[in-house]
Subunit: 208 residues, 2 copies
């Protein structure tokens, strides 16, 4: 459990804090939280274990901070990709498919890529039984809400027909990101095929 507030923690150096969180994130994703020792995080971050305890107090708190940071990073990534790929979509229907494909590809190819997202999702799901606040941090629905807003705009200019924008956003995510995550190790051509198939199915389902 997170430390009682009476335990003094140190703010310390931003660079070291960042190194710890990055190292922890990588190890938690590849090894799982339980199988990752704090010693291993310390070694990977290039700091002493004593420092980690001085900064975070205990192991669970490291996980909380990792997930907080990842959720914020994901939202920023989705927001940027949407603004740049979906924002300029014009009234010409033939550009929507290409924009949606680029939107998915862009997110999948960033630091917060498909396998990273999939691993983090799994981590939250596994550990939420013991740290329920993790789920709150992760399942904000902010990315889906943002996407639903764009879809609503597309409906207004006649490109989509929606009954429930948020459901459409969920379906879009299921047809693209989710299936992509299942084949995170696939070659680039296969991954492009998955995205294209998913976007096309979505458009057939939601075109006027």
């Amino acid at each position: 459990m997170p430390p009682v507030e009476t335990k003094p923690l140190r703010a310390g150096s931003a660079a070291k804090r960042s190194a710890i969180l990055l190292a922890a994130r990588d190890l938690f994703m590849t090894e799982g939280f339980e199988r990752t020792s704090v010693d291993a995080v310390a070694a990977a971050a290039g700091v002493s274990k004593r420092t980690i305890y001085d900064y975070f107090g205990d192991k669970s708190t490291i996980l909380l901070r990792v997930v907080e940071s990842a959720a914020a990073s994901l939202l920023a990534s989705v927001t940027e990709a949407a603004d740049e790929e979906l924002g300029p979509v014009s009234e010409a229907p033939e550009t929507l498919e290409a924009s949606l494909i680029r939107f998915v590809a862009r997110i999948s190819d960033t630091t917060m890529g498909s396998d990273a997202y999939s691993s983090l999702r799994r981590l939250v799901s596994t550990e939420a039984a013991h740290l329920p606040v993790l789920r709150d941090q992760w399942d904000t629905r902010e990315p889906e809400t943002l996407l639903a807003e764009y879809f609503t705009t597309f409906e207004r200019i006649g490109l989509l027909r929606l009954a429930k924008p948020l459901t459409a956003a969920d379906h879009f995510g299921a047809l693209t990101f989710r299936l992509l995550q299942d084949e995170a190790d696939a070659p680039k051509a296969r991954r492009h095929e998955i995205v294209a198939d998913g976007v096309q199915a979505f458009l057939r389902a939601y075109r006027p």
Copy 2:
């Protein structure tokens, strides 16, 4: 790792073996593999830890057997539901939607329900890094292949239009089971809505 074959294992009693696997399955799903002790499995199964080691040799082997058993159970469940709900589908398009909804609901409401499937999937995903054979046992693609065969039949009688049957099966699973798993704790009415929305989107995407 699984025990070297020189270690003598005992077949023992089918009832005790079953009790061990059931207890292990429940605990692995709720607590995770790493956080579940063999002592806890023994207590939940009502056998001695010595017996567990006599039957299985080590902890990883328990996990292998649990996943084997679960994958077989899932396939049986999907096969039965498909045979009974999709098998009798006639040429009248209006019955297809209802059949697909019943097919999903039936699987989701069985022992191998949405939350159990989701937990097992997560377990395999987490542990496969250390026991790669787990993934082989789980990702057989047999349920998807079976579903794709039914979809191919529906195409022949004019109910669907497919380019790639297996991709359509993936899309169907993504739009229904996957989204249902995300809201495993939702009330029954919400779960029914998720299934109906997903089936309808699928049909819009794949109807001729």
